[in-house]
Amino acid sequence: MSIKIGLAGNPNSGKTTLFNGLTGATQYVGNWPGVTVEKKSGKYRKNKEVEIVDLPGVYSLSPYTLEEVVTRRFILEDRPDAIINIIDATNIERNLYLTTQVLELGVPTVVALNMMDLIRKNGDTLDCKKLSKLLGCPVIEISALKGQGIDEVTQKAIELAKQRKSQEFTLPVMEEIKVSLSEIEKMIESSKVNINTPKRWLAIKLFERDEEVVKSLKLNHSVREKINQCIEQCEKVLDDDSESIITGERYAYIGNVVGQSVHKAKKGSDTTSDKIDKIVTNRILALPIFMVIMWLVYYISVSSLGTIVTDWTNDVLFGEMIQGNIQSFMETANVAPWLTALVVDGLIGGVGAVLGFVPQIMLLFLLLAILEDCGYMARVAFIMDRIFRRFGLSGKSFIPMLISSGCGVPGIMASRTLENDKDRKMTIMLTTFIPCGAKLPIIALFAGALFGGASWVAPTIYFMGIAMVIICGIILKHTSTFAGEVAPFVMELPSYHVPSAKGVLIHMWDRGKAFIIKAGTIIFVACGIIWFLQSFNWSLEMVDADQSILASIGGVIAPIFTPLGFGDWGAAIATVTGLIAKENVVATYGVIYGITDATEESADLLAMIAANFSTVSAYSFMAFNMLCAPCFAAIGAIRREMGSAK
């Protein structure tokens, strides 16, 4: 018999750490049906019959956010056999708020009390037994980080699942509310709705006027009217609206539970976390510290260490070792020259283009994972929010944008850290306008050839990109999909803590793996196709680039670009190959003008460009390449993150 266990908890409660500890390397990452919220599940390390589903980190089960709706639907409709609810003991009041809602859903639940070591360190005490008695469910102390107690919790959950008893929990409320709730319960019963959800929960949700539940119950008009009267009466008596009455009752109940089970040592001075925060988000020091950290991330992953490893993989590993060896092997084995060329130039060259980025991206993800796990990312949002809100974004959008100035692909992937769906999509769309590192050689080439390396060229192109970001941000803010209420920026600032190496590495690998697979497949195919078009003519004979299929296609599409001032086939083709990777633009010019090993500094190439372009058309070409569709790798990443290619 297989058992399904759901893992529920607040963000920053250690839920992901617990999930990693329980499932090890067996994780499967997908999306929840119909939405782009990530769904992770895995088999329990010690019993492969047990499936563990990691639910999105949520604070509540309200109907307002995607993550909360997903969590609620999973518990109600998929009916897991048991739930493990992980709680941060240092932040017990707000964590128990979710617990009271989970317990109401009737699924057998075990509470895993995390970070008890910090409670002890502060000299506070927490009575597990008492808490368990008050909540009416088992409470087990764990340390997700050290892996202590996690098997006990799971064993307990399995045990409960096997007993198949439903969880009993009734939120104690004031007399007036109790009367209203039981009246609503009666009405649900009399209208014979056939749903295997606890009636009390339905009654509370109807009382809160929860739209999801109202819709799904399909009560007839007169019953709905009666329920409404009942709610209004109660609201009048208590002089408050129903949603806030219930929230208030929950927190009042929690206050009572915590009062009985937690004993605080006298209210002490600031914690270490508070002390760090005093400096890091200090009014004067915050921005300089922030800039130094961002510069470090950028410098390490994009310019210094990252470039060294990327260059090594591109030039040495793929360029010489793999490509060179396979070429000589195939030549000695007397393989047809076209096949050798396909494998060596087309495929390996293509894959190399993708894999070459991997070390750089891994490094970047590693640094980001550290920043995220230690709690600094929330502070970044706190510091930058003011600026980004103007474009309808939140402060968290800063990180993806910064990374995009190195490479759009990891930038788009970094948007994962934004939990709001709308913000995420908008950030992704806007990041593509940020001029990435691969566009630099294009600027350098044209600026060198026609503008005598004038220093104003590169900055104006950059500003154009940034201006586009701002303009599009404002436009998107007013379009139908993104208009309306700004996502609430009511954000927890979690305590700082030293991230665990294992957690950070898993985090990094999760994202890196996704990049390799998804972006890799698209680039791989695209490279194969372009190589083919560039190496053959219409009668499928191998020819030079200027007689190839690609050249003839270029001749056909070139007129499209004439209004932009660069209507020769070469520029058209360079733009097309630029779609694969912006790095290709310069190389394509090299091929077209028959210059070997062209770089943005070769004198021959500079002369040829100068002869073929006017200053206006050159500037136009640069601008177009800067702002048109991003490269295939980025499109691949966008498609993956948005669930569509639009």
């Binding site: 509540s60 309200s62 927190y251 706190f382 510091i383 003011r386 209420e485 920026f489 954000m491 600032l493």
Partner: protein, 73 residues
């Protein structure tokens, strides 16, 4: 009666009422800012917005526009 936006850093206030509607209001309440609870205004972000408060023993940041909805005394 004042709203939370008008409170200076370092002060402790008690929530009287939360105005507004819909998702933002619910979110504020879900995060533990409910009638009768105490809020300590810790600091303002370097650019003047959002603010950071301590509520129910943890740190929360919210925008001034949202803080305006929270009536305190």
């Amino acid at each position: 009666m004042k709203n939370l936006k008008e409170i200076r850093c370092g002060e402790v206030v008690r929530v009287v009422k939360i105005e507004g509607t819909g998702a933002v209001r619910r979110r504020i309440m879900d995060m533990g800012i409910t009638k009768g609870c105490d809020i300590f205004v810790r600091k303002v972000a370097p650019l003047g917005d959002p603010i950071q408060v301590t509520v129910r023993n943890y740190e929360l940041s919210l925008r001034k526009a949202d803080a305006e909805m929270i009536i305190v005394e």
